[in-house]
């Protein structure tokens, strides 16, 4: 279990318990957290589950795959901190992580 906080663009935080092995995208969908579209359901096709991870957490996360990196390159958002939340899998090391949701996924 990891406690994860999703912060909406407007600043509203949502803290949820995410079971180990569940992606942050699935957790956001399950808790109906606004701003995560996840059109493709985790097939790494749509890029609509993007979140920003604080730089201090970046090294605790599994590195981006080449495919994820390519998907984020032109996301038009601050790519350095951007991650696809379908690729972030909850584990004890992520307990306490806060991620920021962009204004829109489009």
């Amino acid at each position: 279990m990891a406690k994860i906080t999703f912060i909406e663009h407007c600043g509203t935080p949502h803290t949820v318990d995410v079971p180990e092995g569940t992606s942050l995208m699935q957790a956001a969908i399950g808790h109906n957290i606004p701003g995560i579209d996840a059109d493709c359901g985790g097939a790494m096709t749509c890029g609509t589950c993007l979140v920003f991870v604080p730089p201090s957490w970046a090294e605790k996360l599994e590195a981006r795959s080449e495919h994820e990196r390519q998907m984020l390159e032109f996301s038009g958002k601050d790519a350095a901190n951007a991650r696809l939340s379908c690729q972030l899998i909850a584990c004890p090391a992520l307990d306490g992580l806060s991620v920021q949701i962009p204004e829109s996924q489009g």
């Binding site: 399950g30 109906n32 059109d39 359901g41 749509c46 390159e73 032109f74 829109s104 489009g106």
Partner: protein, 411 residues
């Protein structure tokens, strides 16, 4: 219309698919507090339809991963599910929906998300238990049953569903023949460089094509056992999949007297000719803000975008920004992503070498990108999508040269 939205305003959604499942979630996200009921004729709660021709057909996706929302979602979001019964009629005067089980549900606002159905073969006497179409989970299970090592599948239609099923059927060891009426694959929905590349890829994987070909008859009394083409060719088969497009499920809307024109006609907010009734998804013809004309789009992103517009209008929120329409298809190890509409471009630019299995095709009109098609190349897709949205003028020679970084072209 929201200020009078006390917590007693009842929203009823007909069609528990991609649009329906998302619009009920979005209503709650947008703060709508009234009773919400989602009616669906399928037994399952909303699920992702794209895997039906891809991972689900191949058997590599779990039922859990197919679900649009986790099982307890609807209860925790206070959304009532009424599954397994079709809505049969809408009485707009009493604002009541009649269900097939004889019950009825009253609404203050109604959302139609009834999707589309597979077009049947335009031939007499084709009904057989092994002449199949693919639209829902029950169809996918029938198709899966007909596949396996050594089984012969004949697919009518070289569109996305036909090609995805061809790839999945090959993965399951079946023999596959695709019969397409047009001279090439994906005639109305993808460019020649993409269609040609995909044909070669399928052929390398053992799929046989009969292009520019039409079915004359289906043989077999009890079950289809062979197909004869107008040109005389004949193919034995164990099953036939008809993938020749989809038509909108407008029967309910037409029965209720709503304006329809190959789809329920709605405005930018997805409101139909009755202001209390919205419609979203494959069943809808809507004026697209980026194109200034009415379109009926069949894609997950479009269903999602329209769900946002309808939910925002009902919850009294600002409408979201318009999105560039896009679509994807997975075949074998290939991921095709397309943004923009296949409109008449004046210039076509291929970036990258198709032989490498990763490239982009950009379509320009008046110097701006209007459509991009990318195979195993997310940078081309996302860069192209940005260029479509910005309308920036780009130099075709730069776009065609992989040595010129996309960053600079997009910026």
């Amino acid at each position: 219309m929201t200020s009078d939205h006390s917590s007693t305003h009842r929203v009823v959604v007909i069609g528990a698919g991609h649009g329906g499942g998302n619009v009920v979630a979005l209503l709650r996200q947008y703060g709508f507090g009234g009773p919400v009921t989602l009616i669906g004729d399928e037994p399952a709660a909303p699920y992702h339809r794209p895997p039906l021709s891809k991972a689900w057909l191949k058997g590599t996706a779990s039922a859990q991963s197919l679900a649009l929302k986790p099982a307890d979602f609807y209860a925790t979001q206070n959304i009532t599910l009424r599954l397994g019964h079709a809505a049969e009629a809408i009485d707009r005067d009493t604002r009541r929906v009649a269900l097939a089980d004889g019950s009825s549900i009253d609404y203050d606002t109604l959302i139609l998300a009834t999707g589309a159905h597979a077009r049947p073969l335009p031939l007499a006497n084709t009904a057989r238990p092994n002449v199949l179409t693919l639209r829902n989970m029950a169809d996918a299970d029938r198709l899966k049953h007909a596949l396996g090592a050594g089984k012969r599948l004949l697919i009518v239609g070289g569109g996305y569903i036909g090609l995805e099923c061809a790839a999945s059927a090959r993965a399951l060891g079946a023999d596959v023949v695709v019969v397409e009426r047009a001279a090439r694959l994906l005639e109305r929905v993808a460019s020649e460089p993409i269609a040609g590349f995909l044909r070669r890829h399928h052929e390398r994987n053992g799929v046989r094509f009969a292009l520019g070909a039409q079915i004359e008859t289906i043989e077999g009394e009890e079950a289809a056992s062979a197909v004869t083409l107008v040109d005389g060719r004949r193919f034995d088969c164990d099953a036939i999949l008809v993938g020749i497009g989809a038509a909108p499920n407008t029967t309910l809307a037409e029965g209720a007297g709503l304006a329809c024109d190959d789809g329920i006609t709605v405005d930018a907010d997805c409101r139909s000719s009755d202001p209390r009734i919205f419609a979203i998804g494959d069943v809808v013809r809507r004026p697209h803000p980026l194109y200034g004309r009415s379109l009926r789009l069949e894609s997950v992103p479009s269903a999602m975008e329209q769900a946002k517009h309808a939910a925002a209008a009902i919850a009294g929120r600002e409408p979201p920004h318009p999105e560039v329409p896009w679509f994807w298809s997975d075949q074998y190890d290939l991921k095709l992503q397309i943004a923009g509409l296949p409109f008449d471009a004046d210039t076509v630019v291929v970036r990258g070498d198709p032989e490498t299995g990763s490239f982009g095709v950009y379509h320009l009109r008046g110097g701006s990108v209007v459509t991009v098609e990318a195979i195993n190349s997310p940078p081309d897709f996302f860069a192209g999508k940005k260029l479509i949205a910005s309308g920036k003028t780009v130099a075709p020679v730069e776009l065609a040269d992989p040595a010129v970084p996309l960053n600079g072209i997009v910026a």
